[in-house]
């Protein structure tokens, strides 16, 4: 019995040894430190011009401010032999792109020297940014541009499409891929009717309680209003730089390709 136990232990040790060797052989590439101050566009090798970089950053920041969905771009020279999926998954999880709980982060990782791109999306975006969508995006939008070294154009178009696709999930509750205005109208309508309903219910509650009067519903509305504002404020500060990654988690969804 004891002998068996020992054999088991040795086996386990050997397995561990093999694992550590595999890890060394594959030499997992080190994850760069989170950008400080926080940025969404992280072009470590200056493939984009300063203007292009700033334009993308402000576009992504505006999107993150209004929807809380964080789209981050990382451009590096090489994967140093690491697997593109493994590395970008680790990078996204380490940086915690997206908001905690919502997991609405998305990473576009590019290794210029390896001519490889990966789109990784957080759990919260799996419904809208399907693997098939990411794959098509890479095949039909990114590759043709990147082949001509039009990196900015490729990223510009790709991020626009991602935003359109993802917007169904957090802003308009999927009222269709187009028609932001209509969606906005419907959601305001829903929110408004919700407030009115609350108002009526609160009033009724007061009536039953028997201590009705002018002050009745006001405190309730007060707290409701302030709660609404405070949840709005964790969507990031409205001015200045990007507020930072929020603790999103990734399940491995996405697609990759090389151009």
């Amino acid at each position: 019995m004891r002998f068996l136990l020992e054999v088991n232990m040795i086996k386990r040790f050997l397995v561990l040894l093999v694992f550590s060797w595999v890890a060394i052989l594959l030499h997992a590439k080190e994850i760069p430190a989170k950008p400080n101050p926080p940025r969404l566009v992280n072009d470590f090798i200056n493939v984009l011009s300063a203007e292009e970089n700033a334009a993308l950053e402000s576009k992504l920041k505006a999107y993150s401010d209004s929807t809380s969905t964080q789209i981050a771009i990382v451009i590096e020279q090489s994967l140093e032999g690491d697997d593109d999926f493994d590395y970008s998954q680790r990078l996204a999880e380490t940086w915690q792109i997206g908001m905690a709980g919502k997991n609405n982060g998305l990473l576009i990782y590019i290794a210029i020297g390896d001519r490889k791109i990966r789109i990784q999306n957080g759990y919260g975006l799996e419904g809208s940014i399907t693997d098939a969508f990411s794959r098509r995006l890479i095949e039909e939008v990114i590759k043709p541009n990147f082949k001509q070294q039009a990196y900015y154009e490729g990223l510009e178009q790709a991020t626009t499409l991602i935003m359109k696709k993802a917007s169904g999930e957090f802003v308009n509750e999927d009222f269709g891929s187009e028609g932001d205005a209509e969606g906005g109208f419907i959601s305001t309508f829903i929110i408004l009717s919700f407030i009115i309903l609350m108002f009526i219910l609160a009033n009724r509650g007061r009536g039953k309680g028997g201590n009705g009067g002018l002050h009745g519903p006001t405190p309730f509305i007060g707290t409701f209003g302030s709660r609404g504002y405070s949840s709005g404020s964790d969507f990031g500060s409205s001015s200045g730089g990007f507020g930072g990654f929020g603790g999103g988690s990734f399940g491995g969804g996405g697609a990759g390709g090389s151009w």
């Binding site: 694992f19 999926f85 693997d131 399940g251 491995g252 697609a255």
Partner: protein, 196 residues
């Protein structure tokens, strides 16, 4: 104060400490066990996702003239046996996990062969439907790898916690047993053979 009194006091204090400690350990063990269950739910989710993809994949491939039948039936059979394999989420014992992994592993291999064979049919590769299925399948395999990794991390945390002192004193008493890990897939290190 008499010496015996002091001794009694010390014993009392130690006992009290043990009880408090036991409560704390117990609660932590419950939390960690819950974490393994929820990680397991995620694992089952992604495996289910793969299982759900297969009928669509099989139908797409079936439509192609004279597609190799054996690889198809292999996938269908492996899927059937994989869906029958259920794991008790509250136990997650090592041998249960090993069986689960074995049946899912067979499905992985059958699917791998199917995709390799499919590469030889240009008319299939040209269809949008197949391309999408292929990317979904790839994404699902990636998700499986991620969730397995996360599950292993949580189980490692739990297993090492219950085996440490003083939790080890209470773990057996309250039925907190060691849980199984996913191990590297047998044959995963070698890519499926391609014959022309």
């Amino acid at each position: 104060m008499k010496r015996s009194n002091i001794i009694l006091l010390v014993i009392g204090a130690v006992l009290l400490l043990l009880v408090f400690n036991g409560c704390g350990s117990y609660n932590s063990m419950v939390n960690k066990q819950e974490a393994t269950s929820s990680a397991w739910a995620q694992v089952e989710n992604v495996y289910q996702r793969r299982v759900d993809l297969i009928p669509n994949l099989v139908n797409t491939v079936k439509g192609v003239a004279n597609f190799e039948q054996k690889t198809l039936t292999d996938v269908i059979n492996a899927r059937a046996s994989a869906t029958q394999m259920k794991v008790d989420a509250s136990k997650l014992s090592p041998d249960q996990l090993q069986k689960f992994q074995a049946s899912q592993g067979e499905l992985s291999q059958a699917l791998g062969r199917l995709m390799v064979v499919a590469e030889q049919y240009p008319q299939l590769k040209a269809t949008q439907n197949f391309l999408e299925l292929q990317s979904q399948l790839e994404g699902t395999e990636n998700r499986i790898a991620v969730e397995r990794g996360k599950f292993n991390d949580v189980v490692k945390d739990y297993n090492s916690y219950i085996r440490k002192f003083p939790q080890i004193l209470y773990a057996g008493m309250f039925g907190f047993d060691k849980k199984g890990y996913f191990e590297a897939e047998k044959g995963a290190e070698k890519a499926p053979e391609v014959k022309f």
